[in-house]
């Protein structure tokens, strides 16, 4: 295993190329070189200049170079990762699980996974041609600053492929972690071939403790008639910054179900993009977020209808407590000629304290004339009458608030894949509500008080 070959130190303006622990294949080295150039040439995002960052001034002070060099992969599973692996999704099993941290892929107790998901480096070695045609083409380096950075700096991740016509029996699980004082740039590439189907669960995690940066990039290719159910669960420690891009291309009749749960971290900027490239393709997204203390969640989504006759919808439910804040910008873009598009974006916010804030900005950009597109957003407090109703039946105020908040998320939780994953999602929400209850965030007066 060679050491990382960063001769120059990383700075905020310059991202020297990293290398996979066993060395980069040629195409990756070229891709990184282009990414490093893109990174150097684009200015650091600014909350005063860039619309994307307007409500997230934290970006102005972030410096990826302030984190420690990644070091080499742990030979033993760090405790925080072990705890995640033992969690409610343990049933998925080690042979369907790939784990990475800041240094690269981390071996799990069950040995190296076989089958649908393999560690990035191993997959690149086995099938460089296939993956060179995909990696960096969906989430290309020029897309965003943090995609460029991820490409230049990635040291691990996972490659997932389901062959033509196959239905994966078990879900695949990817755990991307980052340790204290580190920065991690995991990369996931997913290829679901024609008519194949898969459930993929990604978890973004870090231990409680010092500052860290987790910047995953996920790129997904869904071929004709392919079906992917994709779960993203962010449960980082309270001092982790998350910068992520998930970008999906859908061919004709492909079907994408995205479910996300954003619960941890200090602050986060997250992009979810779907490109509807084929007629008859369908994307159904529903996400949830529970914020507390000073947490800040900035989620930006794109439903890009390039082909006509496709359907996309998105529902995002947010509850913000204490001084936390949610920013949502959801764009439906219907390109010229994408007739018979059917698209919908909706953001619902529940404010659990007078200091909590939610900004919501769903927008439509429509260049075709025969389409059905709607968007909406709401923000409100817990309804007094609902609380009274619960209380009049013997439920105390805190439990009543909990019940109503849990109910607020019910349709999103119920949209997670049935079985272990849905139960896990339920437990994530309940755990977050437990934490709110512990800090007294649910004990406050009536909704309007």
């Amino acid at each position: 295993m060679s050491e990382l070959i960063s001769l120059r130190p990383m700075t905020r303006d310059d991202a020297p190329l990293a290398e996979l622990p066993g060395g980069d294949p040629d195409f990756l080295h070229k891709l990184r070189t282009a990414a490093a150039a893109a990174y150097r040439e684009s200015p650091w995002p600014s909350s005063s200049r860039d619309e994307d960052w307007r409500r997230t001034p934290q970006i102005d002070k972030l410096d990826p170079a302030s984190f420690a060099a990644p070091g080499s992969s742990a030979t033993e599973l760090p405790e925080y990762l072990a705890r995640v692996l033992e969690g409610p999704l343990a049933a998925i099993g080690a042979s369907h699980t790939v784990v990475t941290d800041q240094a690269g892929n981390v071996p799990t107790a069950g040995g190296s996974p076989r089958g649908l998901a393999v560690p990035l480096e191993e997959g690149l070695r086995q099938d460089p041609e296939r993956w060179s045609a995909l990696l960096g083409t969906i989430a290309h380096p020029g897309l965003r600053k943090f995609v460029a950075l991820n490409t230049a700096r990635l040291t691990g991740g996972a490659l997932v492929r389901v062959k033509r016509g196959q239905t994966a029996e078990s879900p695949v699980r990817l755990v991307h972690g980052v340790d204290q004082r580190s920065a991690a740039f995991p990369r996931t590439a997913v290829l679901v071939e024609e008519g194949a189907s898969l459930t993929l669960v990604e978890e973004w995690v870090s231990p409680e403790g010092d500052d860290s940066l987790l910047a995953p990039v996920v790129e997904v290719q869904l071929e004709r008639g392919a079906h992917l159910t994709h779960v993203v669960h962010q449960r980082c420690g309270s001092r982790t910054v998350v910068q992520s891009t998930v970008r999906v291309k859908l061919a004709r009749d492909a079907h994408y179900d995205l479910r996300w749960a954003l619960l941890g971290g200090a602050w986060q900027k997250t992009y979810f993009d779907v490109e509807m490239l084929g007629e008859g393709s369908e994307s159904r997204a529903s996400g949830l977020c529970i914020g507390r203390s000073q947490q800040h969640f900035d989620v930006q989504t794109l439903q890009d209808h390039i082909a006509g006759g496709a359907i996309s919808d998105l529902l995002y439910r947010v509850a913000v407590a204490e001084r936390s804040r949610s920013i949502f910008a959801g764009l439906i873009r219907v390109e010229e000629g994408a007739q018979k598009t059917n698209a919908y974006v909706q953001n619902r916010n529940l404010l659990l304290s007078p200091q909590a804030k939610a900004d919501s900005n769903p927008t439509l950009e429509i260049l075709a004339n025969d389409v059905r597109c709607t968007h909406g957003s709401t923000a409100g407090r817990i309804d007094d009458d609902q609380l009274f109703y619960c209380e009049s039946r013997g439920v105390n105020r805190e439990q009543a608030r909990r019940l109503v908040v849990e109910g607020f998320f019910a349709d999103v939780v119920d949209a997670f894949p049935q079985g272990a994953v849905r139960e896990a999602a339920r437990s994530w929400v309940l755990e977050a509500l437990d934490e709110l209850a512990l800090s007294g965030a649910l004990a406050a007066g009536y909704g309007s008080a």
Binding site: Y389, C390, E391, S392, G394, Q399, L403, G407, A410
Partner: protein, 262 residues
């Protein structure tokens, strides 16, 4: 237990205001355990407000008088405590809580009352009570009152009453919106618990339900106070000539009947 004060609901000279506007202007009403009383009166008289005040809805501020239940004032106690003490209010317009299933709601309610049951017994209990009100079992997994029809909501209130087993229930127009069979079912349910010594105050506009549940006493409210009380003959009187004669006798202008002292 028949000693005075025990399990009796006593409302004494109760004054209630909403957002500074007086709605109840001195209500006196006593419902002893084991008795069924009816409360009638024109729209806007303050009947629903009385129920809310008894149950402790924070919007209905008590500005005078007292509400005494089982010998103790409940003023200042939160609704959940009043519920635990054995009071129950069946709402005129039951609240929907999207996302909260009937089963989860009832589980939370029983838990809150300290009457938690093992999972199997709990399910058995709610299944049988849902069946007793001739409701489909699918209501257990539906969100409580969400998109229920008017009559289904009323039935669900009675299901809850049967499960929570209060000692004193106020049924606010539970009969409105019920079809004739449901009315019988609800009446049977009420008569069943009445036999257990429960006190009940039925708020209604119609004689119909009182044909099935014979009230021990009938009270008439107008302009935020009780203007007449009597036996079943009061109901017949109202059916025959409306509220006007009573209002005149009480010195209330018909138009003012609906809104309390301004």
């Amino acid at each position: 237990m028949s000693e005075a004060g025990v399990s009796t609901l006593e409302i004494r000279d109760l004054r209630v205001a909403v957002e500074g506007k007086e709605i109840l202007s001195g209500v006196d009403l006593t419902v002893p355990k084991g008795e069924v009383h009816a409360l009638m009166g024109p729209n806007g008289a303050g009947k629903t407000s009385l129920g809310y005040a008894v149950m402790g809805h924070p919007k209905y501020q008590v500005t005078g008088g007292d509400i005494i239940w089982a010998g103790q004032s409940v003023l200042g106690k939160p609704p959940e405590e009043r519920s635990r003490l054995g009071l129950f209010l069946s709402l005129q317009y039951p609240t929907a809580i999207p996302g909260v299933t009937t089963t989860n709601f009832l589980r939370a309610a029983l838990k809150g009352q300290g009457k938690e049951l093992p999972a199997r017994e709990f399910l058995k209990l709610i299944r049988s009570e849902v069946a007793a009100l001739k409701m489909d079992q699918s209501f257990m997994s539906r969100y409580i009152n969400d998109n229920f029809s008017g009559g289904e909501k009323k039935r669900m209130e009675i299901v809850q009453m049967a499960i929570l087993k209060p000692e004193m229930a106020i049924l606010d127009e539970t009969d409105s919106g019920l079809d004739v069979d449901a009315l019988r079912t609800v009446a049977d349910g009420v008569n069943r618990v009445r036999g257990d010594g429960m006190g009940i105050l039925i708020i209604t506009h119609y004689q119909r339900i009182l044909d099935y549940i014979t009230p021990d006493r009938v009270h008439v409210m107008a302009a935020g106070r009780i203007i007449a009380s009597g036996g079943s003959e009061v109901v017949a009187q109202i059916e025959e000539s409306g509220y006007d004669p009573m209002l005149r006798q009480a010195g209330i202008e018909a138009e003012a009947a609906a809104s309390a002292a301004v």
